[in-house]
Symmetry: C2
Subunit: 302 residues, 2 copies
């Protein structure tokens, strides 16, 4: 097979960036990899781990001569990082990203890099851990990667990016950025916001409960703390950049929660039971579609 | 070591009941085990699995001669099941349960079984799966079991129950039923209610998003579906029996969520970032205290 790209640059070497680097090493060993991170500590660690062939001291140096540049930075940093390397980009280089909201990122990149081929992407995969040591090569295996190419993007370029992500083990889906933002507001952004909130609420209760919230977290709370341990900068930027869809979903959620609250207050067991039965079937669908594991407690040690 | 109990009866052979049976077989092989379940299907399956030495056709038959009877049934079924075996209980038998709310269960059992030694218990452990096949002997290993003996309970009996649960691998904590109900409202009941709600909200969105909520669930949503797949009857009864503490926690949660909603609407990134940073440290405490696993994504297959 002719390699898709002979050279790839990864800007931002955290959980996602370093996982892409590791997956490229594994699946596309001939690719020349360069990388950059705004943090000197991360750059040093990336060099120690040999995540890429060259860790550059400037983003501009890292992208020079690269056929594909992937931005793995928080959404709020996209504009300035794109600006910092735009004069160094090779002719016909493709620029992509891994941001969790897409319409605003597409607008940012279009404005910062006029005339450049831009194919925004969102690999729907991750863990609560951050940094270059947290990544692993199988992170994208069997997970979805959503591409949101702007209208008018050359179909060859979209095909190439699809093949690239399939090569890293992902399934690829193509959709409009606005639709992506609505779907992800439901499946990812709202759940994260709720998890952050409830962990905060519980933390405030710790004064009353003397450390017992943490001690007895296995009752359900610990699953929320996992989600609420995700990178704060990344998530701040997601909520600010996908504001409208998140607020819309939040409104629906609050209405539903208020209805349940009323059912509890009035002792309406049937209403509770009906909802609780319905949600079980959703879980079954997710396991059937291979998006999660049915193993009890996910192999947590017992 | 002198065995704590020579005979134990388990009423209700679902996830928790069958796990207790399996753990007793493993750690206390000399105990004579009997069991009962209201469902004939479950009784047949329990016999096939040899979960207990004798599966009885009536609760009364199962408890006869037993030194310890553990009720592993939904809270709403406690009163009638206790009533059904009360004339068969051996003198000096201890009756315990595994219900997730304790003040109301204590009142129910006290009323149904006057003069009987009652030591309500709550093993804070479980999975989203139900039924006799879902149990496993290590479910309680390293988890907490909270005992809420009513004031005036003989301390020898409390000690015996503590030793029993330690023998099954659990850590034991003793507290007042009312305090238990408050702590668990935060660490377990509210998280479950939130998870049920968000999965319901997302299910309603499926019409808009054509199956995509399930497809892209790996972004955070799938963790909620796991919790929201828990047994509907059990959870209906928990919310109805711990109503006041749940409503109080729900009110706090809603206030906090509204504040975040406002921060998103007004673009207050600092407020979001501050909360998201604070919640990370809670996660760290949980892992340090051994109540969860730091493994990325809990050994889900990649």
């Amino acid at each position: 097979m002719i390699p898709l790209f002979s050279s790839v640059t990864i800007i931002g070497l955290g959980l996602i960036g370093s996982s892409i680097a590791r997956a490229i090493r594994l699946h596309m060993p001939d690719v020349r990899l360069s990388g950059y991170d705004a943090s000197a500590t991360v750059r040093a660690r990336a060099a120690e781990l040999s995540l890429v062939d060259d860790v550059a001291e400037r983003a501009g140096t890292a992208v020079r001569g690269s056929e594909l540049v992937i931005l793995c930075v928080p959404i709020g940093a996209m504009a300035s990082v794109a600006d910092s390397f735009k004069t160094d980009l090779a002719a016909n280089a493709i620029v992509s990203d891994v941001g969790s909201s897409k319409a605003s990122v597409a607008a940012i990149l279009r404005e910062a890099l006029p005339g450049v081929h831009i194919v925004p992407a969102h690999p729907v995969a991750g863990t609560e851990n951050s940094g270059p040591d947290a990544g692993f090569s199988s992170l994208f295996q069997g997970r979805w990667c959503i591409l949101t190419p702007p209208e008018g993007t050359d179909s060859d370029i979209v095909d190439k990016m699809s093949q690239f992500w399939r090569g890293l083990g992902a399934n690829v889906e193509i959709m409009a950025a606005e639709h992506h933002d609505l779907v992800l507001a439901v499946t990812s952004h709202l759940p994260h916001l709720i998890a952050y909130t409830i962990v905060g609420t519980a933390a405030d209760m710790e004064q009353v409960t003397r450390g017992e919230v943490i001690k007895f977290s296995a009752g359900g709370f610990r699953d929320f703390t996992r989600i609420a341990a995700s990178d704060p900068t990344m998530w701040r930027d997601i909520f600010l950049s996908n504001r409208d869809a998140v607020l819309e979903m939040l409104q629906r959620f609050t209405e539903d929660l208020t209805a349940l609250q009323r059912a509890i207050r009035w002792g309406d067991g049937t209403k509770l039971f009906d909802l609780f039965s319905r949600t079980r079937s959703i879980r079954r669908s997710i396991i059937e579609q291979g998006q999660d594991d049915a193993a009890a407690d996910f192999g947590r040690r017992h």
